[in-house]
């Protein structure tokens, strides 16, 4: 009996070891793929960083109106952001290629799914980036207009505009990624509906008299009279 137990144990050990031995090349291949990808990524990142610095990319981006990119970038440098993004994309591609070294069917399916998801992810990132730039532009516009009209709550107004747009943009991005679509739709509807309702109530009930007085005053008093006797022209 002990002989049979020993043999069974030996066979199971052999099976486990052979299974591990069958995985090991794939694992080594994965590590090598990641290592090679990291080397290539490092090289690409270095070249990209040098090229972007040579063409003064950070300054040009500001000139083109993408000042917001600097805020989202490490060390306020969009060049660094681009270099790091390139590094991660190449390493990710290396990782996915390395996965293919495992079980052919399973890992290929996984790799296919991941690659199929990449365009959606990239497009969502673009949506968020463009949204962030637009949100920043409009928030700044509202802030300046409000301060120049001497509104005391200028910053709150500006922040409100920024977050309203960012909420809309993030919702669009999540919808595009098909992440919890139902919840996102519901939450967005509740949030936006709530904001509009709250504003309507606040203006309609709470500040009714204040708003009407203010509008009357503005209607009756042209801007140049508001600052008599100063004539700027």
């Amino acid at each position: 009996m002990w002989e049979q137990v020993g043999q069974t144990l030996h066979e199971s050990t052999l099976r486990v070891v052979s299974r591990i031995a069958s995985i090991l090349p794939g694992l080594v291949a994965l590590i090598i793929a990641i290592f090679v990808a990291a080397c290539i990524a490092w090289l690409v990142a270095v070249v990209l960083r040098r090229v972007l610095r040579a063409i003064d990319f950070d300054q040009r981006l500001e000139t083109w109106g993408f000042q917001a990119m600097a805020e989202w970038s490490p060390a306020h440098s969009p060049t660094l952001l681009a270099a790091r993004a390139a590094w991660w994309v190449i390493v990710l591609v290396g990782f996915v290629l390395g996965l293919s070294a495992f079980d052919a069917t399973l890992s290929s399916q996984l790799a296919f799914n991941i690659f199929a998801y990449v365009p959606r992810l990239a497009f969502s990132i673009v949506i968020v980036l463009i949204g962030a730039v637009i949100a920043r532009y409009l928030a700044r516009h509202v802030l300046l207009a409000a301060v120049n009209m001497n509104l005391q709550y200028a910053r709150v107004l500006s922040a409100g505009v920024r977050w309203m747009i960012m909420t809309l943009v993030i919702t669009m991005a999540l919808d595009h990624l098909e992440i919890a679509v139902g919840i996102v739709h519901l939450a967005f509807g509740i949030l936006f509906g709530g904001i509009v309702l709250a504003l309507s109530l606040a203006v309609g009930l709470g500040s009714k008299e204040l708003v009407s007085r203010s509008l009357e005053r503005e209607k009756d008093k042209p801007w140049q009279e508001a600052e008599e006797p100063f004539r700027h022209l």
């Binding site: 802030l143 301060v147 509104l151 801007w223 600052e227 006797p229 100063f230 004539r231 022209l233």
Partner: protein, 411 residues
């Protein structure tokens, strides 16, 4: 805007029938009624007879009927070509009308071209005589206007335009943006037409710089009280944007010339300076100060892109000062304006935002100017203006240094 819009085919044919003229008089703002149009025509006729040698003149007046062939050969009348003046964008409207008038003057090879923005009902023929006289009789190239104003009038000109243009271009012209000017043929030829590479150049903003840079003869004439159209529903912020944009763009265009200018020289003056009586109502600066303080609280993020830290600290200190001690140093204000001109060039932030961000600072300067006790009399106001101009000239090396090495001052 293409050239064909500023002069229509019909007007062009009429101008060609007229042939040549000595003087073109252009009213760039549409007179408010028929009575004002008649007065513009009467003033122009009277002005022609006021010269020792009456010139052959062409009057361009918006709304005026153009007789097929005028019986009076000394004054031909043509309607204003081009679109009507946009009251929401007066500065651009003046520019378009100015282009139309100078295009006609160029076609007629006129010796002098007077553009008038004032309301005809408050001016007389002496305006035209004083504007055109130095060109027709003394061979000047540009006659700029001087107006009778009280100390709270023309504040953008007083606080920014005159001192800045004087410090940078080196000539003491009181109203660099006119808008009432008279130009010689030589200068008319250099006014940017609406086509080609100069289409984006603002003709009024570039007029004085062009005359100075080309070494032309410049003088200024005291014209009297000026009545100007009030922009519809436009705030100070919109006005500043419309005026400072072309001004800063011109500075950027002329950077090489500006760096060679040293000091400032007076220009020849015609007529006698007068002042208007002070306004009856007292100056309430509380709203101006509140806007400045509001800006200091909320616009730090934007100002910190434009202004160096030392300026920000001084502005913060000023915003906390009690009303009685609220004084913005001339040097501080001059450096602020220079920094904004530089940020415009560097495109540090969106240009429209940049020009709007100066409004609270400008209103702070107005409040400080209005509360300054040295400002109580016209003489005091004049000496205050002279001090401000000196501050701009003293801060000029700061501007030139930042222009050449913008990063050196920005940690």
């Amino acid at each position: 805007m293409p050239d064909t819009i500023t002069i229509t085919q019909e007007t062009r044919e009429r101008v060609e029938r007229i042939g040549t003229a000595d003087l073109v008089i252009g009213f760039v703002v549409p007179p408010k009624d028929q009575q004002a149009i008649d007065r513009a025509i009467a003033i122009s006729r009277a002005a022609i007879t006021g010269f020792a040698q009456p010139p052959r003149a062409v009057l361009i007046c918006p709304g005026a009927d153009a007789p097929a062939e005028s019986a009076d050969a000394s004054l031909q009348i043509i309607p204003m070509p081009g679109p009507p003046l946009d009251p929401l964008n007066l500065v651009q409207g003046f520019a378009d009308a100015f282009r139309s008038v100078t295009n006609v003057a160029r076609t007629l090879a006129a010796r002098a071209c007077a553009t008038i923005a004032a309301d005809p009902s408050v001016m007389d023929e002496n305006w035209i005589i004083r504007l055109a006289g130095p060109i027709l009789e003394s061979d000047y190239d540009l006659v700029a206007p001087c107006y009778a104003r009280h100390r709270f009038e023309g504040l953008i000109n007083r606080g920014i335009l005159y001192p800045l243009v004087r410090a940078l271009y080196g000539r003491r012209v009181r109203n660099p943006f006119g808008p009432d000017f008279c130009l010689s043929t030589r200068l008319v030829e250099r006014v940017p037409s609406a086509t080609g590479s100069t289409a984006r150049v603002h003709p009024i903003a570039s007029l004085l710089p062009e005359a100075i840079a080309s070494g032309m003869q410049i003088c200024q004439a005291y014209l009297g009280v000026r009545s100007y159209p009030v922009p519809d529903d436009a705030g100070v912020s919109a006005l500043l944007t419309q005026i400072l944009g072309p001004l800063f763009a011109e500075i950027e265009r002329r950077a090489a010339f500006l760096q060679r200018v040293r000091g400032s020289q007076p220009v020849e003056e015609y007529g006698v300076a007068t002042n208007l009586p002070e306004p009856d109502s007292g100056a309430d600066v509380s709203r101006l100060m509140e806007t400045f303080q509001n800006g200091t609280r909320n616009l730090q993020e934007i100002w910190s892109i434009v202004l160096p830290p030392s300026t920000l600290v001084e502005l913060k200190r000023l915003s906390r000062a009690p009303a009685a001690a609220f004084r913005m140093d001339d040097e501080l204000w001059a450096r602020v304006v220079y920094d904004f001109a530089l940020a415009y060039r560097l495109r540090s932030i969106n240009r429209d935002h940049l020009l709007r961000a100066i409004t609270p600072l400008y209103l702070g300067w107005v409040a400080s100017y209005a509360m300054n006790p040295d400002n109580a009399t016209p003489e005091g106001a004049e000496s205050l203006l002279e001090r401000l101009c000196a501050a701009y000239e003293n801060a000029r090396p700061y501007f030139v240094a930042r222009w050449r090495w913008p990063d050196r001052f920005n940690p």
